[in-house]
Amino acid sequence: MPKALVDLLTVVLNGVTLAALYFVVASGFTLIFGLMRTTNMAHGSLYMLGAYVGVSAYDATGNWLAALVIGFAALAVVGGAIHLGLLSRMAGQDLRQALVTIGLSIIIGDLLLAKYGGLTYQIAPPAFAAGSVAIPFVVNGTYSAYRLFMIGAAVAVYGSLWLVLNRTRIGWYIRAGIDDRDMLSALGVNVSRVFLFVFALGAGLAGLSGVIGATALSISPSEDGRYLLSSLVVVIVGGMGSLEGAVIGALIIGLSEQIGLFYAPTYSIFITFVIMAAVLAIRPQGLLGRPA
């Protein structure tokens, strides 16, 4: 196979695995936004908090899956607390909610810097996804098993969310709430409990993706901005509140970032933004978003 093609296939695979991570991060963001119209500007900080919790949990247990579960659970609790303590008190005021979560992101970032310092941490991948896998069409003929595992993790997250949204009672409530919150409430459903569930789930997904990301890449104090940006761009391109949109958005962003990095290293982010602007020019609500 010619080298140029092997390079391209490797870059595409890198893009898809990065997209898998971006999807898992953005899924929580878009879920929360879809139901509650709450823009959680602290989503990148929750990712970072989840990653650090994962680092500590891995140090304590030595078990990657335990770190993943603890990262999810801890952030679900934190998210629930943020929702109950702050955001539910200003329901419907989306600008104020965005401002409050910006304040929270500053506090979380600073406290994490105080606790963990400026060092870079990485979690060792689990035994079942360690090392590399032989793939004939990529550079050197091998590829990181963990990065392939991330694709599986993203598919699993998508599948679970799809099942919850489409096959469970709370999923009915969530979908009905996205369509007409007041009518759902009038039908006797305790909407504030649904909100609490969704916010905790969204924050938990941020924590889960933090552990996954800290294993694949690493975690250091300024990562919150990067993942807030990726989540924003993914949902802006894909359409806010749409899970399928997040899949498409994550693929576009992950691929354009990796392809850009390989072929035009200092302009890769610029390419991402040209795509975003082009999508917005044609569909202001994003590719799969519904008109607001």
Binding site: L95, R96, I102, I107, L229, L232, T266, I269, L280, A292
Partner: protein
């Protein structure tokens, strides 16, 4: 002339005299690090207050636009051979023409951002402008060919030379520019164009139905925001003498937002009040340690907590609080604060509300109709 008006006139005169005398009596640190720095930050926050308060466009791209102007200034005014970073870039223009072109380019970039976001409202607009700002930061950080990567540029000098060597002159430059922008924007919001902006803020769909080109006006408003932010960026570059991606990172973006919110998003003067307060806290918190809690190390936690508290208890900021207290004391609250049912007015049940003057905007954002 009524008593209230002459009282107001005397207050204004006293403030102007104080501002003019200030650099003559205060030490260099207070003239530059506190006053000039506050004004530069205040102008950036004013561009946000103007867009949010009068156009309903809460833009988080203002720090990026200011930083863009600073980079353009560096590229236009540096001489390649004397460039401290060893980069071969720089057009070698004198400082004033370089600054004017840089501000014009920031205006153009603002208009471009406006074109990208012209169909997004409220929270969508906020997210989009944040994405544009953070994206621009990463472009600057990543690009060594044009923006000098994480090093940036050094050796930028303004028309007044090094601010350190002549603090009063640089102070007067900042003061004159701040005053000109403040008065200019106040004039603008009372003009036909300013009223159109406020109409769009309150109901874009109705304005479109009346025949106004809402999209074009939003682009123009963003252009004005880019113009004001660009001026702040140019002054900031002259003040520091060097620039790096740090001047437009997420922290700076949030800093501008915090200053605007502390002062009050609906009050133009609040931008400067917020900037002075923020700068004072930032400078003096560093020397305070209470019970082992160093305010220097945990400054961001302090700022974040303060910001959350302000958003929770005083959404209209310090100036909003002062305004309310003043109205309560002088009993001038009354009808303009209360929502009055027009049918009740027609029926003669309640007096008609006093028309709201154009310089006291209502903060839109939560209730802006979405859709175009």
């Amino acid at each position: 002339m009524t008593w209230a008006r002459s009282q107001q006139g005397i207050t204004t005169l006293a403030i102007v005299a104080l501002l003019l005398l200030y650099p003559q009596v205060m030490p260099r640190f207070w003239v530059l690090s506190i006053a000039a720095n506050s004004m530069i930050l205040g102008i950036a926050a004013l561009s946000l207050v103007f867009m949010a308060g009068y156009g309903g466009m809460t833009s988080l791209a203002q720090a990026a636009l200011a930083g863009f102007a600073a980079y353009m200034l560096a590229l236009l005014s540096l001489v390649p051979s004397t460039n401290a970073t060893g980069s071969a870039l720089g057009a070698g223009l004198p400082s004033i023409p370089g600054a004017l072109i840089a501000i014009a380019l920031a205006t153009a970039l603002g208009a471009l951002f406006g074109a990208i976001s012209s169909r997004s409202y409220g929270i969508y607009f906020l997210m989009l402008t944040l994405a544009l700002a953070v994206g621009f930061y990463y472009i600057v950080l990543q690009n060594y060919d044009v923006f000098g990567g994480h090093i940036g540029f050094a050796g930028i000098e303004g028309p007044t030379g090094q601010p350190r060597e002549d603090p009063p002159t640089f102070y007067y430059l900042c003061l004159a520019v701040s005053a000109a922008i403040y008065l200019g924007l106040r004039y603008l919001v009372r003009s036909q164009l300013g009223l159109t902006f406020q109409g769009m803020r309150d109901n874009p769909r109705r304005m479109a139905a009346l025949g106004y080109r809402v999209g074009a006006h939003r682009v123009a408003l963003f252009g004005i925001g880019g113009f004001v932010a660009g001026i702040s960026g140019v002054l900031g570059a002259w003040y520091r003498g060097n620039i790096s991606p740090g001047i437009l990172d997420l922290n700076r973006t949030i800093e501008v937002l915090i200053v605007a919110v502390i002062g009050g998003l609906g009050y133009p003067i609040g931008a400067f009040v917020g900037a002075v307060l923020y700068t004072l806290i930032k400078v003096f918190a560093s020397s305070v340690t209470i019970a082992g809690f160093s305010f220097d190390e945990r400054f961001n936690t302090l700022v974040g907590l303060g910001f959350v508290v302000i958003v929770l208890v005083a959404p209209n900021g310090i100036v909003g609080l002062a305004d309310r207290a003043y109205r309560a004391v002088t009993h001038r609250s009354g009808a303009r604060r209360r929502a009055v049912d027009p049918l009740a007015v027609e029926a003669g049940l309640v007096p008609a509300p006093v028309a709201q003057p154009p310089d006291a905007p209502v903060i839109a954002g939560d209730d802006v109709p979405t859709g175009s």
